[in-house]
Structures are given as structure tokens and as C-alpha cells.
Amino acid sequence: MPDWVMSERSRGAWGARFVRFVRFAGLAGLAGFARFAAFCLLTAAPWVTHAQANYEIQVYGAETVPPGTLMAELHSNFTLDGQKYQIDGVYPTNHQEHETVELTEGLNDWSEIGFYIFTSEQDGHGVQWVGDHIRPRVRVPDSWGWPVGVSVSTEIGFQRAAYSTDTWTWEIRPIIDKSIGRWYFAVNPALERTLHGPDVNQGLGFAPSAKISYDFTRVVSGGIEWYADYGAIGNIASVHNQQQQVFVVTDLNVSPSWEINFGVGIGATGSTDHLIVKAILGRRFDWGHHSPVD
């Protein structure tokens, strides 16, 4: 994922999507949860970057949207404590409200394509269009019988220079996930590249993210999401300049048609926004008439 978009995707409809979706947490009680959180904070620690902004904060699950189905999501993120200064012409992130509309259409049983519209609202700047992305994705079909869910997405798009010095970016994101009983695990070791902007010569960057969650009940899951950006491969950023962020999240599996996720994230390095709250509200729409004989 581009460093300015902390992404994480999981399609949330109950069945095939739900399970592999954002579930988290439980961790055998609060003590275990606290220990795990501390572990994540300590080991995933450092990071940074300028122009860091969070528009889509989500760890992708391997499932794709079924064919004939549109997943409409609204990502709402507010930076409670972020970058307070304008750097290289990029607006500060502090107290920015980001609303991102994501529309994903299932193409067949193993692929989908998504579109993003990024917006930002901030005192002094009003509501601004930030940019757009397109993201095709394919996955390993269930019929292959792999023991883990695997998919790969690639995302390309533009964002205005006022919100990111790198205006054209590309990302490829392997996605691996697994549900075991009440536990859910997902890893997104994403690679990203700047196509236009100051970092165009830096090559591939490494921006992994991961999630672990626990099903407290059929409806309520909770967990931790971790997002990092280590900078260019072969030239890993100093701890201060890496991005490291951990979210405590909950997912509400109220219906196969709905996706609901809330989280609070803490940034651990000087280049990371220090406190963000996020919410994802998604609704699945089936196109046309689906006959029981189909």
C-alpha cells in the first residue's frame, strides 16, 4: 500500500467473507491481550515518514467479493494527534477527517475490482478531493484446497500533491489469511512504488500490515491490526523515519450484508500520526435477480 494510504481490506459479508475478515482479538482475556499489544508495540515499533495520511486503514482478507455483487464501503478516519506542520507543501494531518468511498465489484469467483474516492476535511481547507485509485485483485480459488487463503491485489492511483508529495503510486499486495476456530490471522506484506514524485527513484518500498483477531461471539470480534512502512527495500528507514502503528479494533458481524469495523490506533514513531480513530461501514448489494437455480 502506498505509504499515504494505510490499507487493509477484507470483505465483510458473513459467509465466505466474514470468516476471513477482520476478526480479532480475544486473546485469552485482557491480560493476554495487553501482553500481545505490548509485544506488537515493542517489536513493530519504529517508523516514520512525512506525508503520512490515513485514508483506508484496513488489513485485507483473502476473500473476494462474489460475482454480481457490489461492496460499498465508507472509511472514516480522524487523526486526533498527527503531524502539525506543513512539510514540502503537504497539509498537516492533525485533525484531518478522511472520508473514503470504496466500491468493489466481484468479477467472478476469484477476482474483483475496486475503486476509491479519497476526500479530506480540515479546518482552513474545507472538504477536498484528494485522489482516486483502482485496485484489481485475484485470489486462489477455493477448489484448489489451499490450507490458507491467498490473494494478490495491485493498486494504482493519483493523489494531489497537497496530500502526498508522491502523486502517482503503485502497490502490489500479497494477502494471506487463515481462520482457526475463533482466531483469525491475516498478513499483507505489501510492496509499493512511487511512479511520480520525489521518491520515484527509491525503488520498491516495504509496507507490511497484519491482523490477529478473536471471535468473542458470533457477532463480536476484536483484535489488533498492525501497519508499518519500512521505506525502500535495500535502504530501510531509520526507526524514527519508519511508520509503525497499532490499532485496537472490533468487528461486528451483524449480517452477511454488512461490514462494520471500529478501531483506535497509536503511532509509535516520530513519523507516525500518534492517535487515529477509524471506522468502516460496508454494505453488500446484489445486482439483479439471483435465482435459486443459478
Binding site: G15, A16, V19, F21, G145, G181, R182, V293
Partner: protein, 478 residues
């Protein structure tokens, strides 16, 4: 017991029970089944390593005479204990083929003989009755199923030929599903062990009347079957004649259900007999029916909707007494009309174990072996109220007895009266005798049977993953 020469060692084989006239342990076997690993070629590109009877799936068709004692020798060449369940027969628990009832297992690489007097007549089947748990290659997920025809002393049916057809799903793997838990999904579906286009067609002649015996041996899936260009006259369900045979466009069979249908061969051509739902037929569940002197690609006509209703086969009017129904559902000698049936509510619920696991199942709040009901009283009529408080449909099966359907699909809000509160009065139906019934999600279905076959009798959901995870109850006699 290790066997090197089955027939030579036959006199020393353990014998699982008898029914009817006494038999000698040294009695020679009438039939022989070998349980052994095999690679089945479902199609040139689909090969399944599984365990089957006599190297084939479905296993060999066994035809027994009603009431005539029979001995089946079973050699277990697999690496695990096995047991063969004779589904739909009224036979003693030690030979019925359920470990829970007390049928002894056949150890790996050992043999045993089952001896019993088969009854009642009709289309039954035999299959393994072991557990698979998370291994979706074992038990009913594999190839251990076969047709069993108990021939009546007098067969009133009129037909020119008969075909046995088994529906099965293969290559299961766990998938997330809309109930929020993991459930088996399949990549191949077959009729008689072959993907469409790779098995021998059913060959018929114009003007014939054929009798199709259709079995759903799937471990978990309900199937809908139609024969393009033809209609199906349903004359029996689960091997028992229905009071009102009806001609329908398709039949629906839950796991373990059977239907016997007459078909007039009055539309010459080459047709598809297959699953109605496109995505299942695409997995291979279809077979060609070919008229004599006709050739070409099989033709399929897609029905626009799924239609099925058990009640259409019921007696037109509730004119018969309970005694009539009881005698139809149970062996002669039952006197079930004297008293009102004893009502036994059985509430089905699931226990969530995580989105990454299959659900656990309970009957009246407890899973097997903790689920309990009062012992049955011999000779009494019972009304089982199946209250399905889950969002899954359940094909429930009662061993060693048949039951009569009495009400179907009553919305669950009206089914709360099982706890004592008044509720909707379900419409009574009569005369449909079965041993499996599909209880729709969030509904109640009532059945009645007469307790006239003493001994432990297992009741369970016939979905393999459900029975594996607690959906069983042992009924015993006082």
C-alpha cells in the same frame, strides 16, 4: 482379526446378531463386501483416493428378500475400524451398524458377518457410520455407500426397467458460509460415481415405463434432480409407498433420502438427468438418458425454480386412524391407536465455536452423548417434535424405525408451544412414511412412530459434520 483367506476363515468370523430364525455361526455368507482404499476415476481429470465397497462407488447393489435371513460378510481392508449401517431396516441394534447402539466395530484388517432378516421391503441403502470430524475424505465424505433393495414378497409396481441412481459430492473442503461458521464445500459432484459425460448413459426404449431409485448419498448437501423432457411420478419416499403418488417436474432429496419415481419414456431423444441448480450440475452431477437409436449431445431444459413439498404426497384427507399409520410405519403387531401419542420435543440448536470452525450441535441443550430423553415404552405411539432453532436445515434420521410425517415447516414462532405455551396448530398430514425428513431452518416438523422395535435406536442429523459434532441422541427402551 487378521484374515488372509476370507472364505476359509468364515466359520471363525464374529457374527453381528441375528433377526428371525436362528442361524448357525458357521452359516455361509450370502454376500461379501470388502472395505478398502481405492482410487476412483470420476472423470479423466478427477481422481479421488477414497475408501469404498468392493472397489466401487456406489458399492454393489444388494437385493435381499424381505424377511429371509441373510448373511453379509464384510472384510475391512482399510486402516481404521469400520461399521456398515443398513439404513432403513428394522433390525436389532447389534447388527444395525451404529457403534452408538452397540454394533461392534470391524477392526482394521479384520472381517465380520452381519446376519439379519431384512425388513421392511423397499429401497434402502447401506453406508459407513463412522466419524469424519475435520477430515473431509473419511466417513460419508468418501465412497462407502451402496444401494440396498429389500424385495417384497409381492411387488405391485409395473415397470419395464429400473435404474439405481446415487447423488454424491466429493473433494470436500471447509469454507466460510452464511451461517457465520465453516461448512463443507465440494469441487466435484457425481451421479453413480461419474461426472457428467464420463459414465454410461441410462439406456431406454420409447414406450417403456422405467423406475428410478434415486439416493442422495451426499455427506451434507441437499440435491434437486430433474429429467429433461420428462416428468417424474413419485411413488415412494425413503422406500415406502406414498399414499398419493404425484407427477412432478423435479424431486428434492436431502442427505440419506431416497425417492422412487416412475417415468414414461414418451419423448425420444438424449436427455440429461441432473441436478437442477446450474452451479451443482456444472460440478458434474448429471447423467445422460438415451433412447434406443438416438444419439447426440444430451439435452437439458433448465427449470426456472425449485419446487418441492412433502405434503403433496400425503393422504388426501385425514381419514385414517393412527393405527393405520402406525401399521404402515412399523412392523405388524403394533397397537398404537389406543392412546394419544407421547409428545417428545427435540430442540435443535447450534453452538458457535468461531468463524473458523464448524458449529457444535445440541438436542435439547446437550450434545451427544449427553443429550437425553426418557426411555421409550414398548408399544406406545410417540410424536417427535423437531424444533429447529438454527439457521441450517437438518435431514434427521431415526434408526431401526420409520416415522410418519404429521406436520411440516411450522414457523418457529408458532413452535414455542413445545415449551408449554400455546402456539400455531400445525396442519396435520397423514400417510407419508419415512426414515429421514428435512427440517427447515427456524421451523418445526412433527413425526410419529410406534416404539415396537426394542433396543437402542440412534437419532441424528444425517449431515456428516452435524452428527460428528454432537447432533445425535440415543433413544432406548424402558
Amino acid at each position: 482379526m487378521q484374515l488372509t483367506g476370507l472364505l476359509g476363515l468364515a466359520p471363525s468370523l464374529p457374527v453381528f446378531g441375528r433377526n428371525g430364525p436362528p442361524s448357525d455361526d458357521a452359516r455361509p455368507s450370502d454376500y461379501r463386501l470388502e472395505i478398502a482404499p481405492v482410487t476412483l476415476d470420476l472423470s479423466p481429470s478427477h481422481h479421488v483416493r477414497t475408501v469404498a465397497y468392493n472397489g466401487q462407488a456406489p458399492g454393489p447393489l444388494l437385493r435381499f428378500k424381505e424377511g429371509r435371513p441373510v448373511t453379509i460378510e464384510v472384510a475391512n481392508r482399510s486402516d481404521r475400524p469400520e461399521v456398515v449401517h443398513w439404513h432403513g431396516l428394522f433390525i436389532p441394534p447389534d447388527v444395525d451398524g451404529a457403534l452408538e447402539e452397540g454394533t461392534p466395530p470391524i477392526a482394521a484388517n479384520a472381517s465380520a458377518r452381519y446376519t439379519f432378516a431384512p425388513r421392511p421391503s423397499g429401497f434402502r441403502w447401506y453406508h459407513t457410520h463412522t466419524m469424519a470430524m475435520n477430515d473431509l475424505t473419511r466417513a460419508q465424505y468418501g465412497g462407502q455407500h451402496g444401494f440396498l433393495m429389500i424385495e417384497p414378497r409381492d411387488d405391485p409396481a409395473r415397470y419395464d426397467g429400473e435404474f439405481f441412481v446415487a447423488l454424491h459430492d466429493w473433494d470436500g473442503h471447509l469454507l466460510a458460509s452464511d451461517d457465520g461458521a465453516m461448512n463443507p464445500g465440494y469441487t466435484v459432484a457425481t451421479i453413480n460415481g461419474k461426472v457428467m459425460g464420463h459414465g454410461e448413459p441410462l439406456r431406454v426404449k420409447a414406450g417403456q415405463t422405467i423406475l428410478l431409485h434415486v439416493l442422495n448419498s451426499s455427506p451434507t448437501e441437499v440435491h434437486w434432480v430433474a429429467l429433461a423432457g420428462h416428468r417424474l411420478q413419485v411413488i415412494a419416499l425413503d422406500g415406502n409407498a406414498v399414499p398419493s403418488p404425484q407427477t412432478v417436474n423435479m424431486i428434492r432429496l436431502a442427505p440419506a433420502e431416497r425417492a422412487c419415481v416412475l417415468v414414461e419414456m414418451n419423448n425420444p431423444g438424449v436427455w440429461v438427468l441432473g441436478e437442477v441448480r446450474k452451479h451443482v450440475q456444472a460440478l458434474g452431477m448429471a447423467i445422460a438418458l438415451e433412447y434406443e437409436n438416438r444419439s447426440g449431445n444430451p439435452v437439458w431444459t433448465q427449470p426456472p425454480e425449485l419446487v418441492w413439498n412433502y405434503a403433496q404426497f400425503a393422504r388426501a384427507q385425514a381419514s385414517g386412524s393412527h393405527a393405520d399409520d402406525a401399521n404402515a410405519a412399523n412392523p405388524p403387531g403394533a397397537d398404537a391407536s389406543a392412546e394419544s401419542p407421547i409428545v417428545v420435543p427435540l430442540v435443535f440448536e447450534s453452538k458457535f465455536r468461531g468463524h473458523g470452525a464448524m458449529e457444535r450441535w445440541t438436542i435439547n441443550g446437550a450434545s451427544y452423548p449427553d443429550a437425553r430423553v426418557a426411555p421409550l415404552i414398548r408399544g406406545r405411539r410417540y410424536r417427535l417434535q423437531f424444533v429447529n432453532r438454527s439457521i441450517d436445515d437438518h435431514p434427521v434420521h431415526l434408526h431401526r424405525h420409520s416415522f410418519e410425517l404429521r406436520s411440516l415447516g411450522v414457523p418457529l414462532s408458532g413452535a414455542r408451544n413445545v415449551a408449554g405455551a400455546p402456539g400455531a396448530t400445525p396442519a396435520d398430514i397423514h400417510g407419508i412414511i419415512k426414515d429421514v425428513v428435512l427440517v427447515d431452518a427456524n421451523t418445526r416438523t412433527d413425526v410419529e412412530f410406534t416404539a415396537d422395535n426394542p433396543g437402542a435406536s440412534l437419532f441424528h442429523c444425517h449431515q456428516q459434520n452435524h452428527m460428528d459434532l454432537g447432533f445425535m441422541l440415543l433413544l432406548d427402551y424402558a
